[in-house]
């Protein structure tokens, strides 16, 4: 009997508690077989959110499920911060991103995109009482709130660098950025139009959107660079649901008719 034996016992207890932690988990995001792990940031309705029961819901979720059904894939969604999605894809923790991801040349260097599936673009949200800011030309000296890692954040940073915006505050989710605007701490929120529209529709009276759409773009699904096998399947599934009208059905489910139209 020695201290060593006592330590061994403690290590055994520690390893047991470790294993207890393991047993309930699914340890790997396997790329084998037909199951794909899809990363998303679910505070972005109507594209992705979680319902009361904790299920992923939204336009992107339904669309990915529809594509997967056509292609015989099994899908598991994973909740990740928006600015961690691309790193998680690159390191293999997820196989695909479906998270209202705008197609940009810069991101194309890091991921491979599917065909575009919806038109988006940025719009500027201001307080309802604001009578000064009418277009993006009125942003001189103003402050903006944005979601970290979004195209809106990139736009805001560019405007700040160019000396237009005075300050840019970055938040992990869109609702927090909107809150910053609603309580008057910033002058504008620059964010994807469909999501801002959903926010304004649900929370009338505090915030309004400017008519102007800046930097019109499209959303795409993203896979790891060089994963052509998955990309081919996704694109094939996407064109099938475009052709048979089920994509249109999903759009009508989540958007008012006005937003179903391209916002360009």
């Amino acid at each position: 009997m020695s201290i060593g034996r006592f330590l061994t016992a403690i290590v055994a207890v520690a390893s047991l508690s470790f294993l207890a932690g393991c047993s309930e988990e699914t340890p790997t995001a396997g790329t084998t077989a037909k199951k794909i792990v899809v990363g998303t940031e679910p505070t972005f309705p109507p594209f992705e959110s979680k319902d009361e029961a904790g299920n992923f819901v939204g336009f992107d979720i339904d669309m990915v499920k529809a594509i997967a059904a056509k292609q015989g894939l099994e899908v598991e969604f994973k909740d990740l911060p928006f600015d961690s999605l691309i790193p998680a894809l690159q390191s293999g923790q997820i196989d695909m991103i479906a998270s209202g991801l705008s197609i940009t040349d810069e991101r194309k260097k890091a991921v491979d995109y599917s065909d575009p599936y919806i038109d988006a673009g940025l719009s500027i949200a201001v307080k309802k009482s604001d009578s000064v800011i009418k277009t993006s030309a009125d942003l001189k000296g103003k402050s903006a709130a944005v979601q970290q890692g979004s195209t809106g954040a990139k736009k805001a940073e560019e405007l700040q660098k160019a000396g237009t915006l005075k300050e840019v505050r970055q938040f992990p989710t869109v609702p927090l950025a909107m809150m910053e605007l609603a309580k008057g701490s910033v002058d504008v929120v620059i964010n994807d139009r469909p999501v801002s529209e959903a926010f304004v529709a649900a929370q009338p009276g505090e915030i309004k959107l400017l008519d102007e759409v800046i930097d019109a773009d499209s959303y795409g699904l993203a896979v790891r660079k060089g994963n052509t096998e998955l990309l081919t399947k996704i694109n094939a599934g996407l064109s099938t649901i475009k052709a048979d009208g089920s994509l249109k059905g999903i759009k009508d489910k989540y958007f008012k008719p006005a937003i179903t139209q391209p916002t360009k």
């Binding site: 520690a14 508690s17 932690g21 340890p27 979680k50 911060p81």
Partner: protein, 226 residues
């Protein structure tokens, strides 16, 4: 307005309680690691051999010298991409498991200091008397030192447990559906931000007050010296 707040407070509660269950599960599992590994570290620190006490000191310094949020992000995002890069195969870790490990090994550093000071504060006469009575070193530790040290350690350990419970909120950044994350998800689908954060605060208060009272009861029962 107040009715609407009350409505949201009621509506967000089921989600927050689901998150509370996850938080408690994580913190209990993490504290099991924290106490067992923390005790090992404390014994290594108290060892006279440099080969034992220097690595333990480095561990404590590294953990205490870096923010827990950074450790969580390192374990969940940094380590898998490092392993993937080295092995060439995608590797990932479950967020709840990553959370338990990050919180557990973080807590171990603080717990080791609690045990080290508790063991160190015991009168030398206790050990000497036990040895004089014919107990060997392990028996002395097991039957004389550890029970007394553990009693001394209970109040700071309880403190650590409450701190760790609140620290589970940091796991929202890696997508663990604990209390804060469930609240954020609710706020995202209902746009009701203020009542949600009030609800979150209430759930934490209820949990920490419950634990504090359980601890007070345990302290009374064990007649913890004050």
């Amino acid at each position: 307005m107040p009715q609407e707040y009350l409505h949201h407070l009621g509506a967000v509660l089921p989600a927050l309680l689901r998150g509370a269950w996850i938080a408690v599960y994580v913190v209990v599992a993490a504290e099991l690691i924290g106490v067992s590994f923390g005790l090992i570290i404390a014994l290594l620190r108290l060892s006279k051999s440099r080969w034992m006490n220097i690595p333990a000191l480095i561990y404590v310094d590294l953990i205490r010298g870096t923010p827990m949020l950074v450790q969580i992000l390192f374990l969940y995002f940094g380590l898998p991409s490092l392993i993937s890069a080295i092995s060439g195969r995608p590797w990932s870790i479950d967020p709840i498991l990553a959370g338990i490990l990050a919180l557990g090994f973080n807590s171990a550093a603080y717990v080791s200091e609690v045990f080290r000071t508790a063991i160190g504060s015991l009168d030398k006469g206790q050990t000497e008397a036990a040895r004089a009575l014919g107990l060997n070193r392990l028996q002395t530790f097991r039957f004389v030192v550890l029970p007394q040290a553990f009693r001394w350690a209970i109040p700071p350990l309880g403190n650590e447990f409450i701190t760790l419970l609140k620290d589970t909120s940091l796991l929202s950044v890696i997508g663990v559906a604990e209390i804060l994350k469930e609240g954020q998800l609710y706020a995202a689908r209902t746009y009701a931000i203020f009542p949600t954060y009030i609800g979150i605060a209430i759930v934490y208060i209820v949990l920490t007050l419950t634990i504090a009272n359980v601890l007070r009861y345990v302290e009374r029962k064990l007649k913890v010296p004050t």
